[in-house]
């Protein structure tokens, strides 16, 4: 059974070193034979068994004896775990390619994001968007977010905390990232711009997050209800006119150019922070730049 795992391992290792290629060939021969219900006669199974039991014997003879007695069961379990892991890794990679996140629509922690952050995220070229804090500050703190995204909502407390603590020394800019996979994402961004026109952006933003489930379910009706509750007289005409479509288009283009693949994504003086705990990492960077 271990030949299946051995094949994968030696195939990968043989990319980096030719000495593993004969082992990969033997593993392949074994896999083909097992798949066609013939006995594997390459001896690779036995070599792996002997090597692993010998290794354990040097530490624990009792452990080696236990492993030897139950080796078939352990190798079956290990092989099953390998294939299950392989399936989830492949699924994550597929989601990452298609949706920009391992978990697809849901977003959340994705191991590939770490790689992506380093290699693919570029700071946006403009500071267009909704601002807060000190526009003249040396530290820019940009957020690409989505009002109907649960992860952007989860980071909101951290964003408000940073603005409250460092707003005099930091220039905060919010850029909408209208994700097609989030219900009413674009529409919510448009609604927030309309609220901004009447000076009630932050209140409207807070209400969008607070009523996120309702917004995701009812969209425009929920927007109108929030606007009504905040007394936004011109909201309806603004929203209906599509007044801020250009802004939204520009924001979407910036997202594409920056390589943004999920929300929220933060930039602190051009350095990207994405994935789980991004807001915490962004705060640490701000503190570092402030010398705290």
């Amino acid at each position: 059974m271990l030949c299946f795992v051995a094949l994968a391992v030696f195939l990968i290792l043989s990319i980096f070193s030719a000495k593993y290629r004969p082992l990969a060939r033997r593993a392949l021969d074994c896999v083909v034979k097992k798949a066609t219900l013939r006995p594997c006669d390459t001896g690779l199974d036995e070599e792996i068994k002997a090597a692993s039991i010998s290794g354990i014997m040097k530490i624990s003879p009792g452990g080696a004896s236990f492993l030897n007695r139950h080796f078939e069961a352990f190798s079956l379990l290990f092989t099953l775990l390998f294939f299950v892991s392989l399936f989830f890794a492949a699924q994550g990679l597929y989601n990452f390619i298609i949706y920009g996140n391992c978990n697809g629509f849901e977003g959340g922690f994705c191991i590939y994001s770490g790689v992506q952050n380093e290699l693919f995220l570029k700071a946006p070229s403009s500071l267009d968007g909704v601002s807060a804090g000190n526009a003249s500050a040396n530290i820019t703190f940009i957020e690409f977010g989505c009002y109907t995204c649960p992860y952007t909502k989860a980071a909101e407390a951290g964003v408000k905390s940073i603005i409250a603590a460092y707003g005099d020394r930091v220039h905060y800019v919010y850029k909408a990232f209208p994700l097609p996979s989030h219900p009413y994402s674009r529409e919510a961004a448009h609604a927030a711009f309309c609220a901004n026109d009447e000076g009630k952006y932050w209140e409207y933003r807070a209400a969008l997050f607070e009523n996120q489930a309702d917004v995701q379910a009812r969209g425009p009706a929920a927007f109108a209800d929030i606007a009504r509750s905040l007394g936004l007289a011109d909201f309806g005409s603004c929203y209906a006119s599509g007044k801020h479509e250009d802004l939204l288009r520009k924001s979407a283009d910036e997202c594409t150019a920056s390589g943004i693949y999920g929300t929220p994504t933060f930039f602190v003086n051009g350095k990207a922070f994405a994935g789980p705990g991004a807001i915490n990492e962004a705060e640490k960077e701000i503190k570092r730049l402030l010398g705290e």
Partner: protein, 398 residues
């Protein structure tokens, strides 16, 4: 005189460069620097061909080659004209079995214990309808049932037998077999691959018609072997591998072959190998084959005691018959391959596992699925046997 194996080990470069415990000499022996140097000397000082060209280098090569033949022949108690060089024991055995004239007698008597290199040519000749093979009875103790000698009779052309088996290290009762064969008018071919390296073998006293052995199992190079034969026995062999230097004259209509042994040495020979093998004979002679035999007897006792002390172990072959320092064994509950692999992994002990190219023999001895074989030689020590015992003991506890 007792061999100081610890001192001898310094002669073997392979032992200096690795800390392996080499217990696989039945497969191939390690080579001392003297042999390596001698073989290299052909390439650095000669590098010509013998018996063809007349320039100085060619003549020196011829001299070195023929001197090697003489040296090796002397080592096994034969005359130079009785020794034909081959690639190895396998080729030598094939030469006799394939080239003998079976027109008057068709039976070949052998045993199931033989190495495939002797068994398979006989079986192939039987498959072709050239011979009829019959097998002496062998018990699970590895001893030949001497009543089987009655198989040898007036229709027997050849009795083909081992000197020492590679499965148990035991010797065949050659005196009785040779007598029975000659009484019946049959020729005797001895596979000396395991015997010649480990004991004094005197072809002139053995009485056999042919003796085959390899260089590499006696500290010599690989790629060189010998077929020693009586002149009249060689005369009964048809040509085998023919080519350059096997003829006196040749025209499109006729060939006049050289006499043995040259008739059987077609093409450019392994001059380096022959010179190296001669050096190996010199090295072993200097130590003394009787001393090597005594060392092997001691090592054999230590080895058998070591294996027998392991609970659940089974040693194959007779418990009492003498053997060279070779033993095939199994440990209960651990496959032979796993035991050998783990011995290498845990303590760098080089063992062989399997059926040792003697599958019918393995079945006859009671290990059809394979066993572990430890085969020692002049450079092995009792300390190594102790480490072997400890390691196999740990493996047996699995």
């Amino acid at each position: 005189m007792a061999i100081d194996a610890n001192r001898l080990r310094a002669d073997f470069p392979a032992l200096q460069s690795s800390n392996a415990i080499y217990f696989d000499s039945a497969c191939t022996a390690l080579k001392p620097q003297a042999v390596i140097g001698a073989e290299m000397s052909y390439y650095t000082e000669l590098s010509a061909c013998a018996g063809r060209s007349h320039h100085t280098l060619a003549k020196r090569t011829e001299e070195a080659f023929e001197a090697s033949r003489e040296r090796i022949a002397k080592f096994v108690g034969a005359k130079p004209e009785q020794l034909a060089f081959t690639k190895n024991t396998t080729e030598a055995l094939n030469l006799v079995v394939r080239s003998l004239d079976y027109s008057a007698r068709r039976k070949v008597v052998t045993t199931p214990l033989e190495h495939h290199s002797l068994l398979l040519p006989i079986m192939e000749q039987q498959r072709r309808g050239v011979v009829k093979a019959e097998y002496m009875q062998v018990g699970t103790s590895g001893e030949i049932d001497e009543s089987s000698l009655s198989l040898i009779g007036p229709s027997t052309a050849l009795v083909a037998i081992h000197h020492t088996t590679n499965t148990t290290g035991m010797r065949a009762p050659l005196e009785k077999i040779v007598k029975a064969a000659h009484d019946a008018g049959a020729l005797v071919l001895i596979d000396g691959a395991q015997g010649v390296p480990h004991s004094r073998v005197d072809f002139s006293r053995l009485g056999a018609d042919f003796l085959a052995f390899s260089g590499h199992k006696m500290c010599g190079p690989t790629g060189i072997g010998c077929l020693v034969g009586k002149k009249e026995a060689f005369e009964k062999l048809d040509t085998f591998i023919v080519g350059g230097e096997t003829v006196e004259t040749v025209s499109l209509g006729s060939v006049r072959w050289k006499s043995a042994p040259k008739r059987f040495e077609g093409g450019i020979q392994n001059y380096a190998g022959a010179i190296g093998l001669a050096a190996a004979c010199g090295y072993l002679s200097k130590i003394g084959m009787q001393n090597i035999e005594e060392h092997e007897r001691r090592m054999a006792r230590a080895l058998l005691d070591a294996i027998n002390s392991i609970p659940g172990s089974t040693v194959y072959g007779s418990k009492t018959a003498p053997r060279c320092a070779l033993a095939s064994f199994n440990l209960a509950g651990v496959s032979a391959h796993q035991a050998a692999l783990m011995a290498d992994s845990l303590s760098k002990i080089a063992l062989r596992s399997g059926v040792f190219c003697a599958e019918p023999g393995a079945a006859a001895l009671g290990f059809p699925k394979g066993a572990v074989r430890a085969s020692l030689y002049l450079y092995n020590t009792e300390d190594e046997v102790r480490t072997f015992a400890e390691t196999m003991g740990k493996i047996a506890k699995l």
